[in-house]
Symmetry: C2
Subunit: 242 residues, 2 copies
Amino acid sequence: MTVGNEGGIRTRARVHSWQSIREHVLERIQSGEWAPGDLIPTEQELAQQMGCARATVNRALRELAGSGIVQRRRKVGTRVAATPMRRMTMRLPVIRDEIEAMQATYAYELTGCERRAPTARAAAALCKGMPEELMMIQSRHLADGQPHCCEAVWLHPELLELPECTHFRMEAPHDWLNRSRAVTQTRFAILTEGASGTCAVNLGVDDGTPLLTIERTSLVDGVAVSFARQFYPPGHRLVFDD
Amino acid sequence: MTVGNEGGIRTRARVHSWQSIREHVLERIQSGEWAPGDLIPTEQELAQQMGCARATVNRALRELAGSGIVQRRRKVGTRVAATPMRRMTMRLPVIRDEIEAMQATYAYELTGCERRAPTARAAAALCKGMPEELMMIQSRHLADGQPHCCEAVWLHPELLELPECTHFRMEAPHDWLNRSRAVTQTRFAILTEGASGTCAVNLGVDDGTPLLTIERTSLVDGVAVSFARQFYPPGHRLVFDD
DNA sequence: CAGTGGTCTAGACCACTCC
DNA sequence: GAGTGGTCTAGACCACTGG
């Protein structure tokens, strides 16, 4: 596993770069010399063996821990992870960017806006001091005129200073949210669902068509202020890479 | 965005911890003082302002860059990212662990094993020196006797020393692969598909039922040696968290 | 060529946790 | 209490890149 490459910089590895230490350790793990569950030498020992500073070893092992290759605990040491459960990073989809990256023309359309009682899922996501009604905004995003994604966004009216519905004819809810409040945290779930009702119509697909669904909860200072469900028609792929 | 929390360690923040520097910078960004696209002060300037070492500022900014909050370039400086495109980390699903985490009993079943010409997708993933036939292994994983996931794994027969089919009655392909070769890299795609054929039967669902699909390519030393497609019935959720 | 981030070092102290 | 990782510092040099 090539971890990160630190922002794409690729340079001649110095003899004692933290990358070279990381590779050294990785090779010992992959060769089986250090098996899953084993403790590997301490930072101090490794630094002596490799002839570098402990801070350099620390950096290398910290990166490996970040990738889930090893687990570290004070006083105990560094252990090769039992299951090679890797962690991968994913760029969060920003719909406009997604579409423009395909060299397509982006368009946004408001398809519904009203106050209504939340669904069970929306209520579960926006649990804090739930009022009886939330603002729900339905919209779709088009690439070169073809439906690309359809979404429903629930906004918490008491935690946000909501504009009139007409505002969302021009600006997508997430753009507005990012402008107006500093979202400090986001939660995601990916699942699949059969198309139904408004969404099927807006995407131009038959009822029951499998849709890739992304549920997204935005938090400001630890409190959930919005919950969105985004639906993508078949063919859409979320790609992860090392 | 709380970034990582470095392995779950939470401790009294020292006055000049890199975490506190990170929070300081984050606040300035979230308050709008440093707007998207802006250059923020250099490491040296920040170190002086905050009264800490440059290395500490470097660590804080490196973490923010890792989360996609800022972008850094030598000679240019550190810029607040134009789009708040966050990066999130995801634990890769290891099916047995997934099931055991639910307090359910894990079971594995081989449902098919043969050599055959690859599908277009398998061929695209395993592009290197593609032979005419690949080994394809179909199986399913059960939680407390209920189908949890159904998968098809394509293995490259010339890059791997494949055992007989009977071997895969006892051991799942990925377990075997992880034991026999050091997988150095993995690629993922998440999509959705309607159930069909064998898979619908093995999962006990009707044809056309939306299935969450994970495509997974395993690489050894940069060369793809296996390609897997895993199908999950409705209700399954992949969860991401900050 | 000069400015900025990227990294290494050597030493120090602290925090967590097992014994 | 003692061992191990987690972090900070001050200083240094290097690598990339814009002018």
